[in-house]
Amino acid sequence: MNVFQQLQMYLAMPFVQYALIVGTLIALCSSLLGVTLVLKRFSFIGDGLSHVAFGAMAIAGVLRLTNEMLFVLPVTVLCAVLLLRTGQNAKIKGDAAIAMISVGALAIGYMLLNLFPTSSNVSSDVCTSLFGSTSILTLTQLEVWLCIGLSVAVVVIFLLFYNKIFAVTFDEDFARAAGVKAEAYNLLIAVVVAVIIVLAMNLVGSLLISALIIFPAVSAMRLFRSFKGVTVCSAILSVSCALIGMLVSILGSTPVGSTIVAVDIAAFLVFSLLARLGVNRRKA
């Protein structure tokens, strides 16, 4: 059997089709807020939240919830709101608060998984949550629809608030001075980031989420000089990398998450090289 026949066989399987659709949507969502996260120093929040999501996942496992996402999502959103609040309150420095919450969640999550093992192989469980291994291929019907619904919601919200996100990201002080409700939009951004993280956890696992969010944006910023250009480019890049990564991982039976991230890294290197060669100089 050659590669194409093999691919054809896999693509005929419904769970592979689901995985590709959901994976593509998740990749699209996670790339959209990349620029904002990188430039607003929110990337730390993103990182912290992914650990929170891991802890919540462990708790969901201990409680033997059938649909973990329904538990993990509200917990992560709540933490996003809390982190944003503490970030603004200067008593505990924002970064320290994030580090405390994220490392705390990681430790407690791991402890819970060991205290209340749901299967005989704890370390493989942990590995699944941290690196995603195969979870995208094992989604239940409900989870598939939940992912699709949330992804569509994220994209629609992003499009509707695109100009506001730009204004608040580029210069929050100016926006607030002019009467833009920056706090409300910051909150919106934090909530959307939390949703994206919970979604992305299914695709690449909690440790690799930041890579999925940040790599496409940083790569696009190498070549494009307008916010719109960077946003569109990182969306296309992220979707392509995710598709390539998923197909490679299915054919080569490599772990999905790390394969996608590896493709993202390759794209970053290519874009950096192109930027070195001066491709960006002509582009706006």
Binding site: V35, L39, K40, A90, L159, L160, F161, Y162, N163, K164, F166, A167, T169, F170, D171, D173, F174, A175, R176, A177, A178, G179, V180, M221, F224, R225, S226, F227, K228, G229, V230, A284
Partner: protein, 237 residues
């Protein structure tokens, strides 16, 4: 009735007072320069007026048809924007955000306004250029055009000429004066360039140990000015 009245204002960070008992008012068409030493609290005062920083005590009142969200602001040093991928057009247009309210996209009128303001600032040819690839003077013009999109009434400028060469500085002052004279935009500007402040401003606010607020002519004769300027700016008596 003044557009902006500040009474017994105390300001600072986390309960620590930097300036207290600030009193002044600004009427439509005024050109107020805020002067004072580094670290005396000028930027903090401006942020407090804008509501970016909580005041400790006192009152800030807007009047004469001006509301708190009709202010154009040009911040001092925009460090976060160093790596920001954005074109001049995107940035100027973002000045209309407050006008757009909850509407997701900019209207034709708002785009027109952005175009006009770019024209006024002479940056139309840079529309598609990347902001961070512009020179300091060009960047300041972009930010001024953006501020003009947010207001027609009052501009708060935090050291708009710092880091600019003498010629560009001169042009910048001229632009600001034109806005003040022709378009009757009220100007509140922080500046270290005391000679320019005395030349262009109608009023001076001096912050620091010695406070002064009043018309420029009076300031030149005041004790605060004499100490701040040495002999050069006081009456050459």
């Amino acid at each position: 009735m003044p557009q902006l009245t500040i009474e017994n204002l105390s300001l600072g960070y986390e309960g620590q007072v930097i300036l207290s008992d600030v009193n002044f008012s600004v009427s439509a068409g005024d050109y107020l320069c805020i002067v004072g030493e580094n670290g005396s609290g000028k930027s903090t005062l401006m942020k407090t007026i804008l509501g970016l920083q909580k005041q400790i005590d006192g009152s800030i009142t807007f009047g004469d048809g001006l509301s708190a969200n009709e202010i154009g602001y040009l911040p001092q040093q925009t460090a976060a924007q160093k790596d920001f991928p954005a074109t001049v057009w995107e940035i100027v247009l973002s000045g209309c955000q407050a006008r757009a309210g909850l509407r997701p996209f900019y209207s034709r009128a708002e785009k027109q306004l952005a175009k006009e303001n770019m024209e006024k600032m002479g940056i139309t040819q840079f529309a598609g250029r990347c902001y961070r690839a512009l020179s300091g003077g060009q960047q300041q013009r972009v930010l001024l055009a953006r501020a003009l999109c947010a207001t027609r009434k009052i501009l708060l400028l935090d050291e708009p000429v710092s880091g600019l060469d003498p010629k560009v500085t001169q042009e910048m002052y001229q632009l600001i004066e034109e806005l003040n004279h022709k378009e009757h935009v009220t100007i509140i500007m922080i500046s270290h360039d005391i000679s320019a402040a005395v030349r262009y401003a109608s009023h001076i606010l001096h912050v620091g140990h010695e406070m002064f607020f009043g018309p420029t002519a009076e300031y030149i004769r005041s004790a605060a000015a004499r100490r701040f300027l040495g002999t050069e700016g006081g009456e050459d008596a």
